[in-house]
Protein backbone atom coordinates (compact mmCIF):
# COMPACT_ATOMS: atom_id res chain seq x y z
CA UNK A 1 0.00 0.00 0.00
CA UNK A 2 1.32 3.41 -0.88
CA UNK A 3 2.07 5.40 2.23
CA UNK A 4 2.73 2.39 4.41
CA UNK A 5 6.40 3.26 4.73
CA UNK A 6 5.56 6.80 5.77
CA UNK A 7 3.12 5.59 8.43
CA UNK A 8 5.74 3.20 9.75
CA UNK A 9 8.20 6.07 10.02
CA UNK A 10 5.67 8.24 11.83
CA UNK A 11 5.05 5.45 14.34
CA UNK A 12 8.81 5.45 14.95
CA UNK A 13 8.92 9.18 15.62
CA UNK A 14 5.99 8.83 17.98
CA UNK A 15 7.78 6.09 19.85
CA UNK A 16 10.85 8.29 20.19
CA UNK A 17 8.81 11.30 21.30
CA UNK A 18 6.89 9.52 24.03
CA UNK A 19 9.84 7.35 24.92
CA UNK A 20 11.91 10.45 25.66
CA UNK A 21 9.76 11.08 28.75
CA UNK A 22 10.54 7.74 30.33
CA UNK A 23 13.81 6.51 28.81
CA UNK A 24 17.00 8.40 29.47
CA UNK A 25 18.69 6.89 26.40
CA UNK A 26 16.20 8.63 24.16
CA UNK A 27 16.85 12.08 25.61
CA UNK A 28 20.53 12.58 26.12
CA UNK A 29 20.70 16.37 26.16
CA UNK A 30 20.58 18.62 29.22
CA UNK A 31 19.56 22.28 29.65
CA UNK A 32 23.11 23.53 29.42
CA UNK A 33 24.08 26.47 31.57
CA UNK A 34 21.73 25.47 34.39
CA UNK A 35 22.34 21.77 34.12
CA UNK A 36 25.71 20.22 33.38
CA UNK A 37 26.82 16.75 32.50
CA UNK A 38 29.36 15.19 34.85
CA UNK A 39 32.95 15.84 33.88
CA UNK A 40 34.64 13.02 32.00
CA UNK A 41 37.98 12.49 33.67
CA UNK A 42 40.22 12.35 30.61
CA UNK A 43 38.82 15.59 29.16
CA UNK A 44 41.39 18.12 28.04
CA UNK A 45 41.39 21.54 26.52
CA UNK A 46 44.29 23.91 27.21
CA UNK A 47 47.56 23.43 29.08
CA UNK A 48 48.40 24.87 32.47
CA UNK A 49 51.52 24.86 34.64
CA UNK A 50 51.50 22.90 37.87
CA UNK A 51 53.03 24.31 41.05
CA UNK A 52 53.62 22.60 44.38
CA UNK A 53 52.96 24.26 47.69
CA UNK A 54 51.22 27.59 48.05
CA UNK A 55 53.40 30.11 46.25
CA UNK A 56 52.84 29.83 42.48
CA UNK A 57 56.10 31.47 41.51
CA UNK A 58 58.22 29.58 44.01
CA UNK A 59 56.68 26.15 43.56
CA UNK A 60 56.49 26.00 39.79
CA UNK A 61 57.71 22.64 38.53
CA UNK A 62 58.82 23.97 35.18
CA UNK A 63 62.61 24.15 34.90
CA UNK A 64 62.51 25.88 31.52
CA UNK A 65 64.00 23.01 29.52
CA UNK A 66 62.04 24.27 26.49
CA UNK A 67 61.22 20.81 25.14
CA UNK A 68 57.51 21.62 24.92
CA UNK A 69 58.31 24.84 23.07
CA UNK A 70 60.24 22.87 20.48
CA UNK A 71 57.72 20.05 20.14
CA UNK A 72 54.53 22.13 20.14
CA UNK A 73 53.06 21.53 16.66
CA UNK A 74 51.47 24.97 16.12
CA UNK A 75 54.30 26.71 18.06
CA UNK A 76 52.06 28.47 20.54
CA UNK A 77 54.41 28.23 23.54
CA UNK A 78 56.99 30.90 24.20
CA UNK A 79 59.59 30.50 26.93
CA UNK A 80 62.42 32.71 28.10
CA UNK A 81 64.87 30.81 30.27
CA UNK A 82 66.08 32.46 33.43
CA UNK A 83 69.72 33.44 33.79
CA UNK A 84 69.96 32.46 37.44
CA UNK A 85 68.77 29.54 39.50
CA UNK A 86 66.35 29.70 42.35
CA UNK A 87 65.18 27.04 44.79
CA UNK A 88 62.10 25.07 43.79
CA UNK A 89 59.47 23.58 46.13
CA UNK A 90 61.93 21.06 47.52
CA UNK A 91 64.65 23.65 47.98
CA UNK A 92 66.86 22.46 45.15
CA UNK A 93 68.22 25.30 42.98
CA UNK A 94 66.77 25.11 39.45
CA UNK A 95 66.40 27.24 36.39
CA UNK A 96 62.93 28.67 36.03
CA UNK A 97 61.01 30.27 33.15
CA UNK A 98 61.49 34.01 33.24
CA UNK A 99 58.63 34.20 30.81
CA UNK A 100 56.17 31.47 29.85
CA UNK A 101 53.39 32.38 27.43
CA UNK A 102 50.81 30.20 25.74
CA UNK A 103 48.68 31.66 23.01
CA UNK A 104 45.47 29.71 23.42
CA UNK A 105 44.02 31.19 20.26
CA UNK A 106 46.68 29.17 18.42
CA UNK A 107 46.83 26.14 20.73
CA UNK A 108 45.07 23.11 19.30
CA UNK A 109 44.78 21.08 22.51
CA UNK A 110 46.80 18.16 21.22
CA UNK A 111 48.56 17.64 24.58
CA UNK A 112 51.91 16.85 22.98
CA UNK A 113 53.49 19.32 25.45
CA UNK A 114 52.16 17.15 28.28
CA UNK A 115 53.44 14.00 26.65
CA UNK A 116 56.99 15.25 26.18
CA UNK A 117 57.43 17.08 29.50
CA UNK A 118 59.92 15.10 31.61
CA UNK A 119 59.10 17.04 34.81
CA UNK A 120 55.29 16.66 34.92
CA UNK A 121 55.17 20.42 34.94
CA UNK A 122 52.57 21.05 32.25
CA UNK A 123 49.16 19.40 32.28
CA UNK A 124 45.84 19.79 30.50
CA UNK A 125 43.10 21.90 32.00
CA UNK A 126 39.35 21.33 31.66
CA UNK A 127 38.17 24.94 31.90
CA UNK A 128 36.49 25.82 28.61
CA UNK A 129 34.67 29.03 29.47
CA UNK A 130 37.50 31.31 28.42
CA UNK A 131 35.83 33.92 26.26
CA UNK A 132 37.27 37.39 26.53
CA UNK A 133 36.49 40.73 24.98
CA UNK A 134 40.08 41.16 23.82
CA UNK A 135 40.97 38.62 21.21
CA UNK A 136 44.66 39.53 21.09
CA UNK A 137 45.96 40.10 24.60
CA UNK A 138 43.16 38.27 26.34
CA UNK A 139 43.98 34.93 24.81
CA UNK A 140 47.72 35.18 25.36
CA UNK A 141 48.13 33.66 28.80
CA UNK A 142 51.22 34.50 30.83
CA UNK A 143 53.01 32.56 33.53
CA UNK A 144 50.79 33.70 36.36
CA UNK A 145 47.56 32.99 34.50
CA UNK A 146 48.84 29.55 33.58
CA UNK A 147 49.97 28.56 37.06
CA UNK A 148 47.55 26.27 38.87
CA UNK A 149 48.13 24.33 42.06
CA UNK A 150 48.73 20.62 42.35
CA UNK A 151 45.52 20.40 44.42
CA UNK A 152 43.59 21.75 41.44
CA UNK A 153 45.25 19.16 39.21
CA UNK A 154 44.26 16.45 41.67
CA UNK A 155 40.71 17.72 41.59
CA UNK A 156 40.26 17.66 37.81
CA UNK A 157 42.22 14.51 36.90
CA UNK A 158 42.29 12.46 40.15
CA UNK A 159 43.59 9.14 38.77
CA UNK A 160 46.27 10.66 36.59
CA UNK A 161 47.38 13.12 39.27
CA UNK A 162 47.62 10.41 41.90
CA UNK A 163 49.92 8.41 39.63
CA UNK A 164 52.05 11.50 38.93
CA UNK A 165 52.25 12.36 42.63
CA UNK A 166 53.29 8.82 43.50
CA UNK A 167 55.98 8.84 40.83
CA UNK A 168 57.27 12.22 41.94
CA UNK A 169 57.28 11.22 45.61
CA UNK A 170 59.17 8.10 44.69
CA UNK A 171 61.71 10.11 42.73
CA UNK A 172 62.10 12.60 45.56
CA UNK A 173 62.53 9.84 48.13
CA UNK A 174 65.25 8.36 45.97
CA UNK A 175 66.97 11.72 45.60
CA UNK A 176 66.68 12.27 49.36
CA UNK A 177 68.18 8.88 50.07
CA UNK A 178 71.02 9.68 47.74
CA UNK A 179 71.59 13.03 49.46
CA UNK A 180 71.45 11.40 52.86
CA UNK A 181 73.91 8.76 51.75
CA UNK A 182 76.26 11.39 50.45
CA UNK A 183 75.91 13.35 53.70
CA UNK A 184 76.58 10.24 55.74
CA UNK A 185 79.61 9.42 53.65
CA UNK A 186 80.81 12.96 54.18
CA UNK A 187 80.20 12.74 57.92
CA UNK A 188 81.98 9.42 58.05
CA UNK A 189 84.88 10.89 56.12
CA UNK A 190 84.99 13.85 58.50
CA UNK A 191 84.85 11.54 61.53
CA UNK A 192 87.58 9.36 60.13
CA UNK A 193 91.15 10.01 61.28
CA UNK A 194 93.01 12.72 59.35
CA UNK A 195 94.08 11.53 55.95
CA UNK A 196 96.51 12.78 53.37
CA UNK A 197 95.12 15.69 51.30
CA UNK A 198 95.02 13.74 48.04
CA UNK A 199 92.52 11.27 49.48
CA UNK A 200 90.35 14.01 50.85
CA UNK A 201 89.67 15.48 47.44
CA UNK A 202 88.56 12.07 46.24
CA UNK A 203 85.96 11.85 48.98
CA UNK A 204 84.56 15.23 48.14
Amino acid sequence: MLGQGILKGLAETARNFFGSYINKDRLTTVQFPEERLPQIEATRDFPFLVYDGTDWDQGMRCVSCQICEKECPPKCIYIVKSADKKPDATGKPQFYPARFDIDISVCMSCQICVEVCPFDAIKMDVDFELSTTDRFGGLLLNKQQLAKSNEYYNKIHPTEAAAVDAALADERAKADAKLRQAAEAKAAAAAAPPTPPAEKTVVQ
Binding site: K75, Y78, D103, F136, L139
Partner: protein, 210 residues
Amino acid sequence: MNLEAIKSEIEANVPGCRLEIIPNTSPSAQHSLLVDSAHAFTVASFLRDGASVRLDYCSNVTGIDWPLKEISTKTKVKKLVDGVEKDVDEIVKTQTGGYLEAVYHLYSMEQRQGPVILRMRTEDRTDRVHLPSLTPLWRSADFQEREAFDLFGIIFDGHPDLRRLLMWEGFVDHPMRRDYVDPDDYEYEPTAHDEVLKRAKEHQAAEGGL
Protein backbone atom coordinates in the same frame (compact mmCIF):
# COMPACT_ATOMS: atom_id res chain seq x y z
CA MET B 1 54.67 -9.54 -7.54
CA ASN B 2 58.11 -8.82 -8.79
CA LEU B 3 59.09 -5.43 -10.14
CA GLU B 4 61.92 -6.97 -12.16
CA ALA B 5 59.45 -9.22 -13.95
CA ILE B 6 57.16 -6.29 -14.70
CA LYS B 7 60.10 -4.32 -15.99
CA SER B 8 61.19 -7.02 -18.40
CA GLU B 9 57.60 -7.55 -19.51
CA ILE B 10 57.26 -3.86 -20.33
CA GLU B 11 60.61 -3.83 -22.12
CA ALA B 12 59.51 -6.74 -24.27
CA ASN B 13 56.26 -5.06 -25.24
CA VAL B 14 57.07 -1.35 -25.41
CA PRO B 15 60.06 -0.97 -27.68
CA GLY B 16 62.44 1.86 -27.03
CA CYS B 17 61.34 2.76 -23.53
CA ARG B 18 63.93 3.43 -20.89
CA LEU B 19 63.09 2.01 -17.48
CA GLU B 20 65.01 2.13 -14.27
CA ILE B 21 64.22 0.58 -10.92
CA ILE B 22 64.64 3.08 -8.10
CA PRO B 23 65.47 1.02 -5.02
CA ASN B 24 63.97 1.87 -1.67
CA THR B 25 66.28 1.01 1.19
CA SER B 26 63.80 1.63 4.00
CA PRO B 27 62.02 -1.32 5.67
CA SER B 28 58.95 -0.67 3.53
CA ALA B 29 60.89 -1.93 0.47
CA GLN B 30 58.45 -0.29 -1.93
CA HIS B 31 60.67 0.01 -4.97
CA SER B 32 59.55 2.12 -7.85
CA LEU B 33 59.90 2.23 -11.61
CA LEU B 34 61.26 5.32 -13.31
CA VAL B 35 59.81 5.78 -16.78
CA ASP B 36 61.06 8.19 -19.41
CA SER B 37 58.38 10.74 -20.13
CA ALA B 38 58.34 10.09 -23.89
CA HIS B 39 57.13 6.53 -23.43
CA ALA B 40 55.30 6.93 -20.15
CA PHE B 41 51.83 6.98 -21.67
CA THR B 42 52.43 3.83 -23.71
CA VAL B 43 53.93 2.08 -20.73
CA ALA B 44 51.01 3.09 -18.52
CA SER B 45 48.40 1.97 -21.01
CA PHE B 46 50.25 -1.33 -21.38
CA LEU B 47 50.22 -1.73 -17.60
CA ARG B 48 46.50 -1.06 -17.53
CA ASP B 49 45.38 -3.24 -20.41
CA GLY B 50 48.10 -5.55 -21.64
CA ALA B 51 50.34 -6.61 -18.82
CA SER B 52 49.82 -9.82 -16.91
CA VAL B 53 49.21 -7.69 -13.84
CA ARG B 54 46.25 -5.56 -14.85
CA LEU B 55 46.70 -2.32 -12.97
CA ASP B 56 43.16 -1.05 -13.34
CA TYR B 57 43.18 1.26 -10.35
CA CYS B 58 45.34 4.33 -9.88
CA SER B 59 45.24 5.16 -6.23
CA ASN B 60 47.54 8.05 -5.58
CA VAL B 61 49.14 10.67 -7.80
CA THR B 62 51.45 13.27 -6.43
CA GLY B 63 54.34 15.53 -7.20
CA ILE B 64 57.66 15.82 -5.45
CA ASP B 65 60.10 18.67 -5.71
CA TRP B 66 63.80 17.81 -5.79
CA PRO B 67 65.81 21.01 -5.93
CA LEU B 68 69.38 20.88 -7.12
CA LYS B 69 71.56 19.63 -4.30
CA GLU B 70 75.29 19.24 -4.17
CA ILE B 71 76.56 16.28 -2.22
CA SER B 72 80.24 16.04 -1.44
CA THR B 73 81.54 12.63 -0.47
CA LYS B 74 85.00 11.94 0.84
CA THR B 75 86.79 8.93 -0.59
CA LYS B 76 90.25 7.66 0.09
CA VAL B 77 92.25 7.29 -3.10
CA LYS B 78 95.74 5.97 -3.53
CA LYS B 79 97.82 8.48 -5.33
CA LEU B 80 101.44 8.94 -6.19
CA VAL B 81 102.66 11.95 -4.28
CA ASP B 82 106.32 12.77 -4.94
CA GLY B 83 106.92 9.25 -6.14
CA VAL B 84 105.45 7.68 -2.99
CA GLU B 85 102.04 6.02 -2.95
CA LYS B 86 99.84 7.65 -0.33
CA ASP B 87 96.23 7.62 0.80
CA VAL B 88 94.76 10.95 -0.15
CA ASP B 89 91.28 12.21 0.71
CA GLU B 90 89.50 13.18 -2.44
CA ILE B 91 86.26 15.11 -2.28
CA VAL B 92 83.88 14.13 -5.04
CA LYS B 93 81.08 16.54 -5.64
CA THR B 94 77.96 15.13 -7.22
CA GLN B 95 74.79 16.96 -8.06
CA THR B 96 71.42 15.37 -7.50
CA GLY B 97 67.93 16.63 -8.02
CA GLY B 98 67.05 19.61 -10.08
CA TYR B 99 63.79 18.19 -11.32
CA LEU B 100 60.15 17.68 -10.39
CA GLU B 101 58.81 14.21 -10.07
CA ALA B 102 55.33 12.79 -10.52
CA VAL B 103 54.58 9.56 -8.66
CA TYR B 104 51.70 7.20 -9.42
CA HIS B 105 50.65 4.41 -7.08
CA LEU B 106 48.94 1.75 -9.18
CA TYR B 107 47.00 -1.24 -7.92
CA SER B 108 45.12 -4.07 -9.51
CA MET B 109 41.61 -4.39 -8.13
CA GLU B 110 41.08 -7.48 -10.25
CA GLN B 111 44.09 -9.40 -8.98
CA ARG B 112 44.37 -7.54 -5.67
CA GLN B 113 48.01 -6.71 -6.29
CA GLY B 114 50.06 -3.67 -5.73
CA PRO B 115 51.38 -1.16 -5.38
CA VAL B 116 53.38 -0.66 -8.54
CA ILE B 117 54.94 2.76 -8.25
CA LEU B 118 55.60 4.71 -11.43
CA ARG B 119 57.76 7.80 -11.42
CA MET B 120 58.31 10.38 -14.11
CA ARG B 121 60.80 13.20 -13.99
CA THR B 122 60.79 16.58 -15.65
CA GLU B 123 63.94 17.89 -17.23
CA ASP B 124 64.33 20.83 -14.88
CA ARG B 125 62.35 22.90 -12.41
CA THR B 126 61.78 26.05 -14.40
CA ASP B 127 60.53 25.80 -17.96
CA ARG B 128 60.89 22.22 -19.12
CA VAL B 129 58.34 20.89 -16.66
CA HIS B 130 56.11 18.95 -19.04
CA LEU B 131 55.03 15.39 -18.39
CA PRO B 132 52.40 13.30 -20.15
CA SER B 133 49.07 13.16 -18.37
CA LEU B 134 47.71 9.75 -17.46
CA THR B 135 44.19 11.07 -16.87
CA PRO B 136 42.94 9.61 -20.19
CA LEU B 137 43.84 6.21 -18.77
CA TRP B 138 42.72 6.64 -15.17
CA ARG B 139 40.06 9.23 -14.39
CA SER B 140 41.18 9.14 -10.76
CA ALA B 141 44.29 11.06 -11.77
CA ASP B 142 42.14 14.00 -12.89
CA PHE B 143 42.00 16.06 -9.69
CA GLN B 144 45.31 14.77 -8.41
CA GLU B 145 47.21 15.86 -11.52
CA ARG B 146 45.49 19.22 -11.29
CA GLU B 147 46.68 19.42 -7.71
CA ALA B 148 50.25 18.55 -8.69
CA PHE B 149 50.08 21.22 -11.38
CA ASP B 150 48.73 23.71 -8.88
CA LEU B 151 51.10 23.07 -6.02
CA PHE B 152 54.26 21.95 -7.85
CA GLY B 153 53.96 23.44 -11.30
CA ILE B 154 54.21 20.21 -13.28
CA ILE B 155 52.42 20.69 -16.60
CA PHE B 156 50.59 17.53 -17.63
CA ASP B 157 50.28 17.43 -21.42
CA GLY B 158 47.05 15.85 -22.52
CA HIS B 159 45.14 16.59 -19.36
CA PRO B 160 41.57 17.51 -20.40
CA ASP B 161 41.11 20.33 -17.90
CA LEU B 162 44.38 21.50 -16.41
CA ARG B 163 43.49 24.34 -14.07
CA ARG B 164 44.51 25.20 -10.55
CA LEU B 165 42.65 23.05 -8.06
CA LEU B 166 43.23 24.47 -4.61
CA MET B 167 44.78 27.88 -5.11
CA TRP B 168 42.77 30.57 -6.83
CA GLU B 169 43.05 31.54 -10.46
CA GLY B 170 45.67 34.23 -10.90
CA PHE B 171 47.90 32.92 -8.16
CA VAL B 172 51.42 32.86 -9.53
CA ASP B 173 53.71 30.65 -7.49
CA HIS B 174 53.57 26.96 -6.62
CA PRO B 175 53.35 26.62 -2.84
CA MET B 176 54.64 23.07 -2.44
CA ARG B 177 58.01 23.84 -4.02
CA ARG B 178 60.79 23.64 -1.49
CA ASP B 179 62.01 27.15 -2.28
CA TYR B 180 58.59 28.77 -2.01
CA VAL B 181 58.59 31.90 0.13
CA ASP B 182 55.30 32.43 1.88
CA PRO B 183 53.84 35.91 1.74
CA ASP B 184 53.85 38.22 4.75
CA ASP B 185 50.48 39.81 4.20
CA TYR B 186 48.68 37.90 6.89
CA GLU B 187 46.70 39.55 9.63
CA TYR B 188 48.39 40.67 12.80
CA GLU B 189 48.75 37.63 14.99
CA PRO B 190 49.21 38.05 18.72
CA THR B 191 51.66 35.23 19.16
CA ALA B 192 54.57 35.77 21.46
CA HIS B 193 57.01 34.64 18.82
CA ASP B 194 58.97 37.68 17.82
CA GLU B 195 59.69 36.56 14.28
CA VAL B 196 56.06 36.40 13.28
CA LEU B 197 55.30 39.69 14.95
CA LYS B 198 58.26 41.34 13.27
CA ARG B 199 57.27 40.22 9.82
CA ALA B 200 53.65 41.20 10.30
CA LYS B 201 54.67 44.63 11.54
CA GLU B 202 57.15 45.15 8.72
CA HIS B 203 54.50 44.33 6.20
CA GLN B 204 51.98 46.65 7.81
CA ALA B 205 54.54 49.44 7.94
CA ALA B 206 55.17 48.98 4.25
CA GLU B 207 51.44 49.12 3.61
CA GLY B 208 51.15 52.42 5.43
CA GLY B 209 51.29 51.74 9.10
CA LEU B 210 49.09 49.96 11.56
